[in-house]
């Protein structure tokens, strides 16, 4: 019985952790197989005082899926693609999926056109007749392809290509949700909006929720920290990036994009950090950085600092999976990965030539580049990019054997464009001052780097944690965000408190209370309902 609330047993231990490597605890667990079962479980629980944590594929890095007591709902068995829709007028294609569908599963279905929809309705059948494999793609591309869609929606996930296409948010067209009291809600983009900061949300049973939105202003950067709030906002956006604190996602309608005909990736190696940063600014169209006009919007701009390349050089010798990565010359100090999308190979080549002018202006040799212009070679560059975080995890696992209390300290902060050089100086300088080991990589186009502090012992770990909090303050002062894509979860709640200030957190609490007065749904994510100092 999938609606059964099973008492927690040791065999469920794997469900107590996620990729952050935090371990929680639970009193009971359930594995609903469809929306009806999920709703039934929530309704049963709504009559109790039991808090509920909902989890997808547990690939999160902020412990949002880790339960701290109460009941645990695992949606890992809700993995069907349910329907499709084609909007002929605007040439848009939509897919409806259950929340536990994995990104890898979605990608496979989208690229092959094999959706395995059990009972297609008329709209779906008509849409599938128009569908051609290879003509559409789902743009959000977080590194972890085994992420569940609901998890991606709940934390407004991103990826390398978000530089051009944005995060998950604009690709969520509709959601079905169950609230903590068992009422359900079907919300479609464009249909329910706030008036100024006031909102009235109509639920499926004819009842409604009236509330007031917080009046804080969100940072003007790529962001996955705190509720998305804007005047007159579309109310669907409250739930995207809401980290499951307002409602449980039971169905998602996603929008696909037409697949660009030409996709090229280029990794360029630089002899120093200054020239790499000037190149990044040049790619963003800041002419003063290189003296060259660059009018193209790349799909992705990613960075791998010198410590990341050094780590990769070492792991390449040790790990068979990385042995096939092309040789990294000793003169390669760091790397910038750029991806270009266009509707013909010729157009991409024009972009590459423009980019090359910038490299020449910076004195960087066009020989020090790796160009991938077909899916097989793109895969090679992907392996290279993913090898960096994987190498970090392997190194940390090795260090944990000596001291299990050590974890990686990975940042996810972003700042406005004008602070790129300043933030890099801050990271490099303070790491050096503290004598810490680290690598830095990630979405530098959005000034969004993952600085991974790699503690060698508990002393390093303590220093790293203190530094992290210090950076949260500095980044907030620059108008940045403490989490640009991973979400806040439980681990980054102290940093969100720094960024939002007490007033902001209090307003978020008030918003949550409108949906979940007892604070039973995904407690501990982003903030706790009890104020500090409360009994």
């Amino acid at each position: 019985m999938s609606t059964e609330i099973q008492p927690y047993q040791v065999e469920f231990d794997e469900y107590l952790r996620d990729e952050s490597r935090s371990v929680g605890h639970a009193d009971s667990i359930s594995f609903p197989k469809n929306e009806d079962e999920l709703i039934e479980i929530v309704r049963k629980l709504s009559k109790t005082e039991i808090p509920v944590t909902v989890q997808g594929a547990r690939t999160g890095l902020a412990a949002a899926a880790v339960p701290y007591g109460g009941h645990l709902i695992n949606i890992g068995r809700m993995t069907r693609i349910l329907g499709a829709r084609y909007d002929e007028q605007d040439n848009r294609f939509f897919l409806t999926a259950e929340p536990g569908v994995l990104l890898s599963q979605l990608r496979k279905a989208v690229s092959s056109g094999e959706f395995e929809i059990a009972e297609p309705d008329d709209l779906t059948q008509a849409a599938l007749c128009r569908y051609k494999a290879g003509e559409w793609f789902f743009s959000p591309d977080p590194t972890e392809a085994s992420a569940a869609l609901a998890g991606m929606v709940a934390c407004n996930a991103s990826g390398a290509r978000s530089f051009c296409y944005g995060p998950v948010r604009p690709y969520v067209e509709a959601l079905r949700l169950v609230l903590v009291d068992g009422r359900t809600l079907h919300i479609r983009r464009g249909e329910q909006k706030a008036k100024g900061r006031d909102f009235c949300l109509n639920l499926d049973d004819g009842s409604y929720i009236i509330g007031k939105l917080p009046d804080y202003a969100m940072p003007k950067v790529k962001n996955a920290s705190g509720y998305y709030i804007e005047e007159d906002m579309d109310l669907i956006d409250l739930f995207i990036g809401g980290e499951g604190t307002l409602g449980i996602i039971t169905q998602i309608e996603l929008r696909l994009l037409p697949m660009p005909k030409a996709v090229w990736g280029i990794t360029t190696f630089f002899p120093d950090e200054k020239s790499a940063l000037r190149f990044v600014r040049g790619l963003r169209g800041e002419k003063e950085a290189t003296g060259v006009e660059f009018s193209v919007k790349p799909a992705a701009i990613e960075f791998f600092n010198h410590k990341a390349l050094d780590l990769l050089r070492i792991q390449k010798q040790k790990i068979a999976a990385f042995a096939h990565i092309q040789e990294l010359k000793a003169t390669y100090y760091n790397a910038v990965y750029t991806e270009f999308h266009a509707d013909s190979e010729e157009k991409v080549w024009e972009m590459v030539e423009q980019m090359n002018q910038m490299l020449e202006a910076l004195g960087v040799s066009p020989e020090d580049t790796w160009v991938a212009n077909n899916p097989r070679d793109m895969e090679k560059l992907l392996v290279f990019r993913h090898a960096v975080p994987e190498s970090v995890n392997m190194l940390i696992d090795q260090r944990r054997q000596k001291d299990p209390a050590i974890t990686k300290l990975g940042t996810d902060m972003a700042v406005p464009d004008q602070y790129l050089d300043k933030i890099m100086d801050m990271y490099n300088g303070e790491i050096q001052t503290n004598g810490l080991d680290y690598v830095a990589f990630g979405h530098i186009g959005d000034n969004h780097l993952h600085v991974n502090i790699l503690p060698r012992d508990m002393e390093d770990y303590r220093k790293g944690k203190a530094l992290y909090l210090q950076w949260a303050n500095a980044v907030s002062a620059m108008g940045g965000t403490v989490s640009a894509e991973h979400g806040v979860g439980k681990l980054k709640a102290p940093f969100l408190a720094v960024m939002m200030t007490d007033a902001g957190i209090e307003q978020m609490r008030a918003l949550k209370a409108v949906f979940d007065p007892q604070g039973h749904l995904n407690p501990g994510n982003m903030f706790t309902m009890k104020k500090e100092g409360d009994a």
């Binding site: 092309q326 040789e327 080549w349 590459v352 020989e367 160009v371 560059l381």
Partner: protein
């Protein structure tokens, strides 16, 4: 040192579709790529060039569009390329191909080393490299996983066999066919791609050679392909679902059904 690398265009998929009438490969609608094994041969040639200096020529027999693939070879570091393309060459089996390549190799002349991939991923015969050595009357070392040393008139290689490795020394010129163990092929650079795009690839036809017409193309091919098929692997897998206890019970039941468990 002068190196010739023989390369071939193959379909990007290994599920090759055959024309049921002519029993030749249907190339329409399938993306064409450089034979993956040949990319290792190109890389090895470039490494030799980087280490001790060399002039590298890529050689291919194929349809006119193979020029693009040869430009790709130039973008990786090959110096120049020649395409042998003529309707009269079409439909060649491995023997006719080796003969046609011989004509190309001899027109380049004065070579020290010929590098080939161990086989092409469409035909999987691994015959052309050895046959080329044979028609040229020079030694061959197949399935080379490492070139240990190249002297002025010799080459020392480690080749893979079914039982392990063999170290073989040969005089030069020679034909070497390489496996995927030999190196990690590089991606082209922007500078390389510029060179590739600018490269002029001469196309030679049957008229450019004094040849034995009965040894080229379909009519010069003693091999007759009677039938081709893709080996099917009928391995069915079943995923057991439910709680760990349910899964374990279901597994025990399955094993009992198969008489793999007798309790």
């Amino acid at each position: 040192m002068k190196i010739i690398v023989c390369v071939k265009q193959v379909p990007a998929t290994n599920e090759v579709k055959m024309d049921p009438v002519t029993n030749t490969i249907i190339r329409e609608g399938v993306e064409s790529i450089l034979n993956p094994f040949d990319t290792y041969a190109i890389e090895e040639a470039i490494r030799i060039k980087e280490k001790q200096g060399a002039q590298i020529t890529a050689l291919s027999m194929g349809i006119p569009s193979v020029v693009t693939l040869l430009q790709e070879a130039v973008s990786l570091g090959v110096d120049d390329a020649i395409l042998l393309s003529d309707r009269a060459f079409a439909g060649a089996d491995t023997m006719a191909t080796a003969y046609t390549l011989q004509l190309g190799v001899e027109s380049i002349g004065d070579y020290d080393l010929i590098l080939c991939g161990k086989m092409a991923t469409d035909g999987d015969t691994a015959q052309v490299g050895p046959m080329l050595a044979e028609v040229l009357g020079i030694p061959q070392i197949t399935d080379v996983g490492e070139i240990l040393e190249i002297g002025t008139d010799f080459i020392l290689c480690r080749r893979m066999t079914d039982d392990g490795y063999e170290t073989v020394k040969s005089k030069l010129p020679a034909v070497i066919t390489v496996t995927k163990e030999i190196n990690i092929p590089r991606l082209p650079s922007i500078a390389g791609m510029k060179r590739g795009k600018a490269a002029k690839v001469p196309v030679m036809t049957s008229k450019d050679f004094q040849l034995e017409a009965e040894r080229i193309g379909l009519s010069g091919s003693p091999t007759q392909v009677v039938r081709t098929f893709i080996p099917s692997h009928d391995i069915a897998s079943e995923v057991l679902t439910g709680s760990p206890t349910e899964q374990a019970e279901a597994l025990i039941e399955k094993l009992r059904e198969q008489k793999l468990l007798n309790w």
